[in-house]
């Protein structure tokens, strides 16, 4: 699934580059780029490195786990694999929202064997960000939580500001 999303992103980019002329395209490709998956949480756009996302699924039935840390809404099973589901809204102290047709779970495997599913409002698309398009978390001012890795400003979408997350820190809490 991610592979398809990725390829679509590539296509979009090459079309854009094509219009800008082949010479420009070559110089742009020389710049190191990292792929980010963008998603929506309470109206804001966030993004994580796509390498950590194994799969994007519609939310299956979730079993609540009593006494679990508050961001964890429960456990579920994706093809026989037990997944701990964390609501990123709760994690970032955003107001809760009901699960709807656009809600998705990003399956990630951060440390060791545990599979964690992150509940997000809506998945957008993949952005290939060059280093010049990424700013450190300090631009958000003062002291920031450890899970904020920086801010992405894709040149292709001037209207978008991506909050880049460090999932390891977000999940470890």
């Amino acid at each position: 699934m991610t592979a398809i999303v990725k390829r679509r992103g590539d296509l979009a980019r090459s079309r854009k580059d094509g219009s800008a002329g082949s010479g420009a395209s070559r110089t742009r490709d020389n710049e190191k780029r990292v792929e980010y998956l963008a998603f929506v949480l309470a109206g804001d756009t966030y993004a994580v490195r796509i390498a950590v996302v194994g799969e994007i699924v519609r939310p299956p039935p979730i079993t609540e786990v009593p006494r679990a840390p508050s961001p964890i809404i429960g456990v579920t099973s994706v093809r026989g694999r037990l997944v701990t589901v964390m609501d990123l809204r709760r994690r970032f102290a955003l107001p809760e929202a009901p699960i709807d047709g656009k809600t998705r779970i990003l399956l990630v495997q951060v440390d060791g064997d545990e599979h964690v599913g992150l509940l997000v409002d809506e998945v957008l698309s993949v952005f290939r960000l060059a280093e010049s398009e990424i700013e450190g978390a300090t631009v958000l001012g003062g002291e920031q939580p450890a899970y904020l890795a920086g801010v992405g400003r894709p040149k292709e979408r001037k209207d978008l500001v991506l909050v880049l997350l460090d999932l390891r820190a977000a999940i470890a809490s």
């Binding site: 039935p61 786990v65 006494r67 679990a68 456990v75 026989g80 440390d111 964690v116």
Partner: protein, 722 residues
């Protein structure tokens, strides 16, 4: 092309994995044998067979590690082999010093293996040091002197083909005053291997077989006649009687008149060092130990080719399997169990259709057959996963030996029930907790020699490690005859450490006081050693055992000793559970700890010290509402639910649930690390319909229910939603 390269690498990885597990097995066996040698050496004895086994194992390790480029291991093996060769050929004595070096080598092998697996610090320095020590104990010269063998009228043809080792054994036996006998026996070619083994076994109690070789005589073409030289302290009549089953001729080898004594003995090449490449075959995936050259090799060239073929066929019938593959199979069986359940619902739906009756019955029959075979398959896989606890015990014996030397305490480790079987994963996980407990027993439990003598105890302390099966559980006991623990002293320490208030310490029962050793933070050495106790990291022991679904309990008598008992389920992967409903949610309760389920009636319960209790079969039973424990709120609690009477160790609690759904065997899956904080759950399992149910951890919940009234734990309880 790139893919092909990748495939080749996978093959190599597999071969390497095989090498690692093969080496691990050899090293484990080595440790076992060296321990046995140590036991014998304590009694001033030795066992040439055992030394041979050790030599053979090291020889194989050398070959394997060389093959896989494990340079350090190969170097170590080379030097160790040298020393062992000296040992088995009698060039050096089996002294305490030699044993120490060999023990260190075994330890180091373990370390080197971890390094080969890609973790652990660089052990080159240790290897260096040990190589020096090995060089010091080995004897590169050879003791000369006239041979006592010359006193016997032995056939020079026989003497001429003796290996150096055999010659050494012959000499030693003669020096020990044994008599020599010559046996002539004829074996059918087809069964020579087993027949010879049987003969060896029956001859062994009487003496030692020095060598055997074919005579070339015998009338039968399908049989082979062997001449066997045996050294024994017995009279010839005894041998004739005890070996009569084998149809053989025994003659005593007469002594030569002294004047005619031979001056020297022809020395044969050391056939024991035949360097056949180890028969390691990455493609076949298994290595068969039986094919390795035995040392000393029993004159292979003289065994007719037919016999050799026979021995090739009688290779070991075992296959080594990665535990993860078994886990996978177990999961598949779990999925099949789900399919079975779903199938049953189809049968139920057909039941209501009159026209489908014949079809339904056929389906039902198939379903039963499916169920039966599935059960067999499940049992079969579980059985394959079982290993004897002895695997973990052997490592412990080594630890005890090492520690008792370090602490200068004489300790005897008595092991019973090493053959008790448990799931492989449980046995693996047990090693560390057991080691911890034994270390504590030795460190804090067993008194110094002087103290023991003063209190009239035998100077040799005893640590007993007992394992036995009890129903669906395995019990493990670590018992010492040391100074024991005083509950009052433990309570006092707990007050010092801020774990108990002085009032609580005053009221605490002896049993609860002993359990204090499992509290985190209780275990700072100074405080504990000063009073009486032990308990370095006993909280970790308890946690680890709890993860395996087990319980730890402690009993102790001051001045007499301490006993720690671990109760464990036999298998991890599949458990029988009772599905129950609590506030509209489905939970699974492990059947192993459930005694019975009875109807709950609020009018039959009483409040007692702020706790709800009821009387079941004349005994008082604390009652715990799981909906409350889990913070589930229900708009309409059912008028009457059920009480599931659960027992863990000696404690019983009645858990109140809304309804009972039914029992089932399930595959249990571990919860992730982010859910560590959610106490009371052993894992989760899949229900048929894409849903997941949590499996309750009976031991934690029972313990919690007992603590719930403690003032100390009110704080914890207060944090939970009421």
């Amino acid at each position: 092309m790139a893919e092909q390269g990748g495939g080749g690498k996978g093959e190599n990885d597999r071969a390497r994995e095989e090498f690692l597990s093969e080496a691990q097995e050899l090293i484990d066996g080595l440790g076992r044998d060296v321990l046995a040698l140590d036991e014998l050496a304590k009694g001033g004895r030795s066992d040439p067979e055992l030394i041979n086994d050790v030599f053979r194992a090291v020889h194989t390790l050398k070959g394997l590690s060389g093959l896989f480029g494990a340079a350090l291991m190969s170097g170590l093996s080379h030097e160790l082999e040298e020393v062992l060769d000296d040992l088995r050929l009698g060039r050096i004595e089996l002294s305490q010093r030699v044993l120490d070096v060999v023990f260190r080598a075994v330890e180091l092998y373990g370390l080197l293996l971890t390094v080969e697996r890609g973790s652990g610090a660089d052990p080159s320095a240790d290897v260096e040091g040990l190589l020096v020590a090995l060089g010091e104990v080995s004897h590169r010269g050879r003791a000369g002197g006239a041979s006592p063998v010359a006193q016997y009228e032995l056939d020079p043809g026989l003497l001429g083909v003796l290996t150096e080792y055999e010659e050494h054994r012959l000499r030693t036996n003669i020096q020990n005053g044994m008599s020599l006998y010559k046996l002539r026996v004829s074996f059918p070619l087809a069964t020579i291997d087993t027949a010879l083994d049987e003969l060896k076994a029956s001859a062994r109690p009487h003496g030692e077989i020095i060598t055997y070789l074919p005579t070339g005589g015998g009338s039968d073409a399908d049989a082979i006649e062997l001449e066997i030289l045996i050294a024994s302290k017995e009279q010839i009549e005894v041998l004739r009687r005890d070996l009569s089953a084998h149809k053989l001729v025994i003659d005593e080898v007469p002594r030569r008149p002294l004047a005619q004594g031979r001056t020297s003995l022809p020395v044969a090449a050391p056939a024991g060092r035949v360097s056949l490449a180890p028969s390691f075959n990455p493609e076949a995936g298994t290595q068969v130990l039986g094919q390795l050259p035995p040392a000393p090799a029993p004159l292979p060239s003289l065994v007719p080719p037919e016999a050799r073929e026979v021995s090739l066929r009688s290779v070991s019938q075992t296959v080594r399997v990665d535990i993860r593959k078994l886990d996978h199979l177990m999961n598949v069986v779990g999925e099949l169990a789900i399919v079975r359940t779903e199938l049953m619902t189809v049968v139920d739906r057909l039941r209501n259709r009159a026209d489908m009756r014949p079809l339904m019955q056929e389906l039902l029959r198939l379903h039963r057959s499916f169920e039966r075979h599935l059960g067999q398959m499940q049992g079969g896989i579980l059985e394959v996963r079982m290993v004897p606890l002895g695997q973990a015990f052997e490592k412990l014996a080594r630890v005890v030996r090492q520690l008792s030397r370090e602490h200068d305490k004489q300790v005897h480790l008595v092991i019973t029930g090493a053959e008790t079987e448990l799931d492989k994963l449980i046995v693996e996980e047990l090693s560390d907790p057991l080691m911890h407990m034994i270390r504590n027993a030795l460190d804090h439990g067993i008194e110094s020699r002087d103290d023991r003598l003063r209190t009239g105890k035998p100077p040799l302390g005893t640590i007993a490690l007992n394992a036995f099966q009890k129903g669906n559980q395995v019990l493990l006991e670590v018992e010492d005859d040391g100074r024991g623990m005083d509950p009052k002293a433990l309570a006092a320490v707990a007050v010092q450490r801020g774990i108990l208030t002085p009032e609580e310490a005053r009221d605490i029962s002896a049993r609860d006081a002993l359990s204090l050793i499992f509290r985190p933070g209780f275990t700072t050495r100074d405080e504990v050693t000063d009073t009486s106790g032990r308990g370095v990291g006993m909280d970790v022991v308890k946690t680890n055992i709890g993860k395996l679904g087990g319980v730890v309990e402690v009993t102790s008598d001051v001045g007499i000793g301490t006993k720690i008992t671990i109760t464990l389920p036999i298998t991890l992967a599949i458990i029988s559970v009772l599905f129950v409903e609590i506030a509209g949610r489905t939970y699974a309760m492990p059947l192993a700890s459930i005694e019975e389920a009875i109807v709950y009636d609020a009018s039959l319960t009483r409040s007692f010290e702020g706790r709800e209790v009821m009387t079941v079969r004349g005994a008082t039973l604390p009652v715990c509402h799981l909906a409350r424990t889990f913070g589930h709120t229900t708009s309409s609690p059912p008028p009457h639910g059920f009480v599931v009477v659960t027992s863990v160790g000696n404690r019983r609690v009645g858990f109140v649930v809304d309804s009972l759904i039914g029992q089932q065997d399930i595959v249990i899956k571990a919860l992730g690390r982010t859910l560590r904080g959610a106490r009371g759950f052993a894992g989760a399992t899949e229900l048929g319909d894409q849903r997941v149910a949590l499996v309750l951890d009976a031991s934690t919940l029972v313990e919690e229910a007992f603590q719930a009234h403690d003032k100390t734990s009110e704080k914890i309880a207060g944090r939970l939603p009421a």
